[in-house]
Symmetry: C2
Subunit: 447 residues, 2 copies
């Protein structure tokens, strides 16, 4: 993308209303714009990151065997009356009346609707296990929305729903998602630690939150330091191998880890003192097993091997990609701006033309830009007639991991400067060398 | 995808409530499910098609220079009061009150919001032209929703918005979208004829609808037969070449074409009789130039080259991907089911194992399936223990363009059967030959 043709409204001033660093940086970098309280538009730069997060989430959901659908945002109140949650949900539910005065709502989650879809077509245990997910906008009418997209009213959620014949099958489905989440967050460049969690309004008796550590996190968390060194499950893990998955889950739950709500002093004190980690964290995923809580009242039943009809065992599994974008910034930033993991950076490489109009810098930048695009690298070419200082600041602010600075002086000596955003390291290279080095650096983005 | 692990709830019976063929076939093929009146969930098969349509729309928008954003679905009523449309819009607008009794609405379109985004950050004519688009769910509370996703209440829309300094610039932006739409529909495998249109509640004085001809179409249309033979603009067309684009638009508006609303008997009678085409059509796109209708009241202004401040000239450009899916079925089906254009078929190749459990057919199917996946071909492998007849019927119903039928008899002679869904042609090939032929057939999907 050429900056001269892009829409990236950088703010010079730090917006006053933003209380946390991710909110400040997302506004300053022109990633989002607030349209109403807790309701944001995603501007081009923000949307690029959000879609990269979605792509990784989607790939790992598919790899685990989940199947993508898309449920609508507007739901019928009657559906929620079947489960009993219409009255329970309270003011966080955005209730709507249509032109015929029918009671509708903007979905805050989809257990009821997916159960309706399931019961309409699945009759036999032979069609199980089944896991259906979607990535769709949700609305929760928070009384005081704040912290930008970290706690917005309209937000994006990936929510998956598993259906099994019995508790053992449901446990396998739960473990599939547990492992998929470990892989997802590892690919997003962060360690997310699974912690035993409360089930809240979803219900059920088995639940884990996935927590990213960040000094600015909303929750206090306590865990064993070992988790920081655990290796994520490999891409070729066999999701059909129930025992193998259970072993991974056992490993990732073998040490103490709890949010303050589930904190247990005795358990934490049993951790050797040098291994006790007390930190702040951000919840980026939450998974639930809730058995027949929805399938019983909603009559989502299948015939089992013995011919008898039984309600299915269900779980639900959420990741909020819009919230993940903010959490990644909380976990990765410095005084100059955002430090994205390579896999989700809005652009992987930035080219700063330090003297637009100079035939040499123009030609070198064009060659680099075209070379990167041809190699499938997401490149941003800053071809605007701006001061070099402003270009450096912008590339750092928006967090472009690899930056090539092309000026007439360097070019006279046959060199461009390659800068690594995260380490600050710089090196002088011939333009051709820079191109091949960038190709190999960016090809390494983990799959 | 293996059918045994997929979720594709085929209906045996034709649903009574469905009045048009696309609605019937989408329900029968398990592509969609109605959740409330005019509100649908997209099941896995339907979502695959919808996302392929989105991908083509997106690529052609990007090629033309438009930039993707994502605006929220819920908007503030105050924004619509600025343009005066809050009171004008009537009952089709879904009005919402949040927990603080603030007046909100579910966006039926986004002229106001995008104008707000523009005015917040663009100050100078130097930042023009600008075209921002998004692909987002919309809601229009139709009094009597019908025809499935052809006229649903919650629907997906790609809406783009252009901003220019003056009418000449805006005309160039309009022409960019005009040409992008021609390319989009051609890639979707249909001829969409641009017809002069009314501007309705969007306003403005220049507007074209893009109409697909289908015998079951909702509108009566009249045009010159020549349009059916016009070649779409090539992929390397220069979108910066204003004169070149105008020539394409002039060509595509050089013959008579009108919907019944804009029908002019004298104009149609001037068409030579053998070239008069009177047919039925479906509107799949609609583009508008409306000058300063929104920028004046909403104060979206820039400073021009002479320093004076002027309101920008705007246009808006819609394609409904969810409606396009239905329109493609109206334009392409037979008694056995759907005839997808290759580019949007949910799966490009289907493999029917006619004797699951037979080691030869199992091995041949596995090899074919893996070979296709390795080549990046979307393949559906029907590995269920079902009658061959049911497998043939399903592949035809869901419209898989290329089908390989693998049975023990054929394999004994070293052959599988390759069937082309649209022509019905069949040929016997060695499994290896079938694989290479399929690779080359599917590689030809137009870009």
């Amino acid at each position: 993308m050429r900056s001269s043709r892009y829409f990236m409204p950088i703010l010079r001033e730090t917006p006053k209303e933003a209380e946390i660093v991710s909110h400040r940086l997302m506004l300053r970098a022109g990633m989002i714009r607030q349209e109403s309280a807790g309701i944001y538009a995603w501007l081009p730069l923000g949307l690029r990151v959000l879609e990269k997060v979605n792509a990784i989430v989607r790939e790992e959901q598919n790899r685990s065997g989940a199947i993508e659908i898309k449920m609508p945002t507007v739901q019928s109140a009657d559906l929620w009356r079947e489960s009993g949650r219409y009255d329970d949900y309270g003011k966080e539910m955005l209730r709507i009346k249509d032109r015929h005065e029918r009671e509708m709502l903007y979905g805050p989650t989809n257990e009821e609707m997916v159960t309706e879809i399931f019961r309409a077509s699945v009759r036999s245990y032979k069609d199980l296990p089944l896991n259906l997910y979607h990535i769709q906008w949700k609305f929760r009418d928070e009384v005081r929305p704040r912290f930008g997209v970290m706690r917005s009213r309209e937000f994006l959620m990936k929510d998956a729903y598993s259906f099994d014949l019995d508790a053992a099958g449901a446990r396998h489905s739960y473990n599939r998602m547990f492992v998929a989440y470990l892989r997802t967050f590892a690919r997003l460049g962060v360690t997310a630690i699974p912690m035993v969690a409360d089930t809240g309004p979803i219900g059920g008796d088995l639940s884990h939150e996935f927590i990213i550590l960040a000094s600015t996190g909303e929750s206090e968390v306590f865990c064993h330091r070992d988790y920081l060194g655990f290796a994520p499950p490999p891409s070729d893990i066999d999701f059909d191998d129930a025992a193998g998955l259970q072993a991974v889950v056992d490993h990732w739950t073998s040490r103490f880890a709890a949010t303050s709500e589930k904190f247990d002093a005795a358990g934490f004190e049993a951790v050797p003192e040098e291994s006790r980690l007390s930190a702040r964290g951000i919840e980026v995923g939450h998974i639930f097993y809730f058995g027949t809580k929805y399938s019983e009242p909603m009559k989502a039943v299948v015939s089992g091997p013995d011919g008898a009809t039984v309600p299915v065992h269900m779980g639900s599994y959420g990741i909020g990609p819009s919230r993940v974008v903010a959490a990644l910034i909380e976990a990765g930033h410095d005084d100059n701006g955002i430090l994205w993991p390579d896999a989700v950076a809005p652009f992987t490489v930035g080219i700063a033309n330090l003297k637009v109009g100079n035939p040499d810098t123009d030609a070198a930048c064009e060659a680099l830009y075209r070379g990167l695009l041809a190699a499938g690298v997401d490149a941003l070419y800053d071809d605007r007639d701006e001061r070099p200082g402003a270009k450096f600041a912008t590339l750092d602010l928006i967090g472009v991991p690899y930056q090539v600075l092309v000026g007439p002086k360097g070019l006279a000596e046959g060199k461009v400067e390659l800068k690594h955003r995260r380490s600050g390291e710089k090196e002088l290279l011939a333009p051709d060398e820079a191109l091949s080095k960038l190709k190999s650096l960016t090809a390494a983005v983990a799959r």
